[in-house]
């Protein structure tokens, strides 16, 4: 069998390695439009912020392809799919036949059709990232257009490099798809505190050398303009080849298009009406396709993914998942807001299960809640405990006075306060004597202070100096 994968990004590269992990025989050719080896796009914001080095984003070693018998054609886009002859045609004219074709063409940055937009740099690829970084070194002020996840990460990253940044956003609040209005507001305040000026409800009309002119005529100054206006699935090849395309290339639960020999995964694919823009679903899809085409698990199916958005921006802790916009009419909503500290927490619950959440500001609950959301696990009756873990479990102060006689003081030797008291009553007046009689403190030794405290307190009670 001969497999061709179009796209060597996070989805395509993952598919290739998943296939090879299952089958060493299949002939595999992967086409990549970028000349880079596959890299981890998720980390580009970190590269921009300087918290990851460019060398940290590589996903495969260049030698991997040779070692695993995979032909990689990089920097050579595919220009046409001929489904009749089952052949792909590359830009350099080469024609490669396939038995199975997987589209992992990803998506491209949306560039608004406004005058001067060529002066701006879209933030999408590693090349874009390098270009923005180079420009940031000579710029005095930056404007980021787009207040979604990527725009916020870019703005935060540039601000972290000491550049004043203005973030422009068309909607009334930041990340409006994931956040409710109050969360967006709190997020904006947090970012403002980190040197990002937020302008929401504004529309960029023109990119000028000195900044961005808004639709109302205001000039927002900045000599570096970064575009983060969302992405659009790359579906052109599929559409030209006559495959069914809506927002993305339409696939079924096997990730198969309406041509049984062609699959699509990642950001170019539309499954059950959803185009996923996150990496986790793309990787789940890659595993399913690898199972199906290698025959490892022919009944493998993709049933959609639960979406968790986690902002990667220093000093801004934000996790948003599921249906965050449901209101009390349709769901049980638990909310805690403390704007002065940049904290906003919201749980959306239906039939006792967590179906959505926003956690803004550092929270020890984020791991637990994400897993409860992912697994649909049952929630405890005490919802507050979910938002404030550990609050109910505070240790009772183990002062010698308040401790009951039954309290175990020395775990290692199973000695209670009562036994220490009895030992004191029969004459022991210091830790050494108590240890000799009860063996308390002779194991790990961490109860020494407690034993000293109890003996001291008993002595005080007696009026005997310890």
């Amino acid at each position: 069998m001969r497999l061709i994968v179009i796209g060597n990004g996070m989805a395509g590269a993952r598919l290739v390695s998943e296939v090879r992990a299952r089958d060493k025989e299949i002939r595999v050719t992967v086409f990549g439009a970028e000349t880079w080896q596959p890299y981890n796009r998720v980390l580009l914001s970190n590269v921009l912020a300087g918290s990851s080095g460019p060398d940290q984003v590589r996903l495969l070693d260049p030698s991997w392809y040779g070692e695993h018998g995979v032909e990689a054609v990089l920097g050579t886009p595919v220009v046409q799919i001929d489904r009749e002859t089952r052949t792909v045609i590359a830009e350099d004219g080469r024609r490669v036949p396939y038995d199975v074709l997987v589209l992992a063409t990803g998506s491209s940055a949306v560039v608004p059709p406004i005058p001067g937009v060529e002066r701006a740099i879209p933030f999408r690829t590693l090349d874009d990232c390098q270009e923005i970084l180079a420009a940031s070194r000579t710029s005095s002020r930056a404007v980021v257009v787009g207040g979604g996840l990527l725009g916020i990460e870019a703005a935060r990253g540039l601000a972290g490099r000491g550049l004043p940044v203005t973030l422009l956003h068309l909607a009334g609040h930041l990340m409006e798809r994931q956040l409710d209005a109050e969360a967006g507001l709190v997020l904006g305040e947090t970012l403002a505190g980190l040197g990002v000026e937020i302008r929401t409800g504004v529309s960029a009309a023109e990119v000028l050398p000195e900044g961005v002119r808004l639709a109302d005529g205001t000039l927002v100054e900045g000599d570096l303009v970064v575009l983060a206006c969302g992405v659009r699935p790359e579906t052109e090849l599929a559409a030209q080849a006559g495959l069914e395309v809506r927002r993305g290339v339409v696939v079924d639960d096997e990730l198969r298009t309406d041509d049984p020999a062609v699959f699509a995964i990642g950001e170019c694919a539309e499954h059950d009406g959803v185009v996923y823009g996150l990496v986790a679903p793309a990787w789940e899809q890659a595993a399913v396709v690898a199972d199906v085409i290698t025959g490892t698990a022919k009944d493998a199916r993709y049933r959609g993914s639960r979406m968790v958005t986690r902002l990667k921006a220093k000093s801004v802790e934000l996790a948003a998942m599921g249906e965050t916009h449901l209101t009390e009419e349709h769901a049980e909503v638990v909310r805690f807001s403390h704007r002065a500290r940049g904290t906003y927490r919201k749980l959306v619950i239906r039939e006792g299960r967590l179906v959505g959440a926003i956690l803004l500001g550092e929270s020890a609950a984020v791991g637990t809640l994400t897993q409860l959301f992912d697994r649909g696990g049952p929630l405890p009756g005490d919802r507050a405990g979910l938002l404030f873990p550990g609050a109910g479990g505070a240790a009772v102060a183990d002062s010698p006075v308040r401790m009951p006689d039954s309290a175990k003081v020395c775990q290692c030797n199973n000695v209670t306060k009562g036994q220490i008291r009895a030992c004191w009553e029969s004459g022991a007046r210091d830790v050494t004597a108590v240890a000799a009689a009860t063996r308390a403190t002779t194991g790990c030794g961490t109860c020494r202070d407690a034993v000293e405290g109890i003996v001291g307190w008993l002595c005080e009670q007696e009026g005997v100096s310890a």
Partner: protein
């Protein structure tokens, strides 16, 4: 050519010796009066203080049992030898198997391996240490070329700035070690807020089965935070680039989703390690007892290497060996793939050396045999052994999927158990041979640091029992071999057999007690710190090995929605055969229990003290509910010291170490009406 006996070979009082239980091997002195009293040399937990009570326990076996009835030693030994001979004639040498233990002295472990390979000629020998140390051992050998649990002295822990402990509850399993852990900032990784986690400056509480993802995330963040020791990586290691690339896909937000450990906590752990001048990374069974245990340990070793710790004085990676002689027990030949001196059984040079010491042709030595669970699983089957000798182990309680293992044991033509009490496994035996125990015999134990210590005889054994070495001697004699039973003589032979091997004991004698191996000559001072100049690999460099996370062999699902993890409590040791017979320990911890979170308890309407039935795809057991916020709400905990918990556990094996997945499986709970 016998040497004159020194004082070591005479019983004196008080006798300086070591505790019979865990790998810490705390020093103690025993005074023989009307009863034997214990004094601590340094520190002891309750298990140590009460250890002598078992010497005079009414449960003590003092006569061999043949089909459940008392028999003379001659009858019992003759029966065993003739039945072994018959099984061998019918099924070949591999029809007979041996199962050893990590509590046996070095001398016994050595002699048992020799007995299997030479007297029985079987490849079928393994031991319960496969269930303890095999993942850490495999990972250490892969990275460093050698496995000495802690390749540095224990005292280095107290001098470190940060100690990270992945999957270990030492405050309960070996409490006196905590004396070395109170100064450094402690990072504990455990799904439960254990007694150890409560001592920690930082506790990371992952979902069971996700330690590997967490380790990958820690390395990812260490790279992005610039915590690498690049000079060390260049000078002392190989293979870093592949590991750097492999952790690219484990960014902290992804790790958080898989493990449940908040990103902020992952970053904090890395900051602590980065700021430490000296740091030690330790793994315990929590990280190791998985079908991916070797890779999990490797991920922690990769982190340690990236931070420049192993082979750097005061820093390092180590595993916390569990059983008393878990270290020595894995070095001298009771492991299916090994010969004495930590030699590989398929290495021709190793075979030639050991065969020469044993006075046999190398070609007569069998090759590698089945690993512990595979061996137990094969018992009584068409392909598997029909007879089994068990020394120092209680697999009915301690093996995974134990109800199945019990069936296998029952299907044998011959089961022989050597023990000093009638353990659950001994109850099934055709022949039970009563043995001496710790204070009644000399022998060396290699503790968790790789220090070889003499555990001295303090009292005369009760009438009617024999030492394991004497039992092996008698059986070997009936098979035509004349072997010593005196521990010192066996040790001297072990020294020669280990000479030139990785674990070289040849310079250690009963008079030179407490040395760290390797110790290749009688003048050699021993090796407290290994790897200071080079690692034990052909090129002297430590090897980075890329690994990746995968799900547990059995994930929670609709039918079995809760994770089970198993472990230990302070008052008991291993299968409890000893500690469940000591009154103060039973009083401290009388019965099996199920620890669960209040949220889960609420959901299942279980109250504290309720009897709970826990079921998995492999079996069911019961325990008393203990409700605690110390455990994750998706996980329950059961101690494995009683028969029952291991009916539930999953025997999915690690592909490299053949370690079963004790630490995570899927269960459901219901209240017993």
């Amino acid at each position: 050519m016998k040497r004159p006996k020194s004082t070591i070979d005479r019983v004196t009082s008080p006798t300086l010796t070591h505790c019979p239980y865990c790998a810490l091997q705390c020093g103690m002195s025993l005074t023989v009066g009307e009863r034997v009293t214990v004094e601590a040399t340094d520190a002891l937990c309750q298990k140590g203080w009460t250890a002598a009570e078992l010497l005079s326990s009414p449960d003590r076996l003092t006569t061999p049992l043949l089909h459940g009835r008392p028999a003379t030693w001659e009858q019992a030994l003759d029966h065993v030898a003739s039945r072994l001979g018959a099984v061998r004639s019918e099924h070949g040498p591999d029809g007979v198997a041996v199962f050893g233990g990590g509590g046996l002295t070095n001398e016994k472990a050595y002699q048992l391996g020799k007995f299997a390979r030479v007297a029985l000629g079987t490849s079928q020998i393994d031991y319960n240490g496969r269930f303890c140390m095999s993942s850490a051992a495999a990972a250490s050998v892969r990275a460093f070329g050698a496995d000495r649990g802690m390749p540095f002295p224990l005292t280095d822990l107290a001098a470190a700035d940060v100690v990270l402990l992945a999957g270990g509850n030492v405050a309960e399993t070996m409490p006196p070690i905590v004396r070395h852990l109170t100064r450094p900032d402690l990072i504990v990784i455990d799904p439960r807020r254990t007694a150890t986690a409560k001592l920690a400056a930082l506790h990371l509480q992952p979902t069971p089965g996700t330690d590997l993802a967490l380790a990958l995330g820690l390395l990812h963040v260490a790279i992005s935070e610039g915590a690498l020791d690049s000079e060390y990586i260049a000078r002392r290691t190989s293979g870093f680039e592949a590991v750097r690339i492999s952790v690219s896909e484990w960014w902290p937000e992804r790790v958080e989703r898989v493990t449940g450990v908040p990103v902020a906590a992952i970053r904090q752990a890395v900051q602590m390690l980065k700021n430490a001048n000296k740091a030690v990374l330790l793994t315990g069974r929590g990280a190791e007892q998985h079908a991916k245990g070797t890779d999990t340990v490797t991920a922690f070793i990769n982190l340690a290497l990236a931070l420049g710790l192993p082979g750097t004085p005061g820093s390092g990676y180590g595993c916390v060996t569990g059983q008393g002689n878990g270290q020595g027990g894995r070095e001298h030949g009771q492991k299916a793939d090994q010969l004495p001196g930590y030699r590989k059984i398929d290495d021709p040079a190793a075979r030639a050396h050991v065969a020469a010491v044993w006075g046999v042709e190398p070609g007569t030595l069998p090759g590698p045999g089945r690993s512990a669970y595979e061996l137990l699983d094969a018992l009584g089957t068409a392909e598997g052994p029909k007879a089994l000798l068990v020394f120092g182990s209680n697999p009915v309680v301690s093996a995974p999927r134990s109800a199945h293992v019990t069936e296998r044991l029952k299907s044998l033509d011959l089961l022989v158990v050597v023990d000093f009490v009638l353990s659950e496994t001994a109850r099934l035996a055709d022949v039970v041979l009563p043995s001496t125990q710790w204070a009644e015999e000399n022998g060396t134990m290699t503790n968790l640091e790789g220090r070889v210590q003499l555990r001295r005889k303090a009292v005369e054994p009760p009438e009617g029992v024999r030492s394991d070495l004497e039992i092996i001697q008698e059986l070997a004699l009936r098979m035509g071999h004349t072997w010593p039973a005196e521990p010192r003589e066996v040790f001297d032979e072990l020294r020669r057999a280990s000479q030139g091997g990785t674990a070289d004991y040849s310079g250690i004698t009963y008079e030179r007690d407490g040395l760290f191996w390797p110790c290749p000559t009688p003048e050699h001072p021993g090796t407290p710190r290994m790897f200071l100049d080079r690692f034990h690999t052909p090129d002297g460099l430590a090897r980075f090995v890329p690994v990746t996370h995968r799900a547990a062999a059995e994930e929670a699902d609709a039918d079995f929605p809760v994770y089970l993890t198993t472990g230990r409590v302070l008052a008991h040791y291993q299968s409890g055969a000893q500690t469940r017979r000591i009154a103060p320990l039973v009083e401290a911890s009388p019965e099996p229990f199920v620890e669960l979170h209040p949220d889960l308890a609420e959901h299942l309407s279980i109250g504290a003290g309720d009897l709970v039935r826990v079921s998995s795809r492999r079996g069911a057991t019961e325990g008393v509910a203990r409700i605690s916020e110390a455990i994750r709400s998706d996980t329950v905990f059961m101690p494995f010291h009683w028969e029952g918990a291991n009916r539930l556990t999953n025997p999915a094996l690690d592909p490299t170490s053949r370690m079963p997945e004790f630490k995570v499986c899927a269960v459901r709970l219901e209240k017993v009406a």
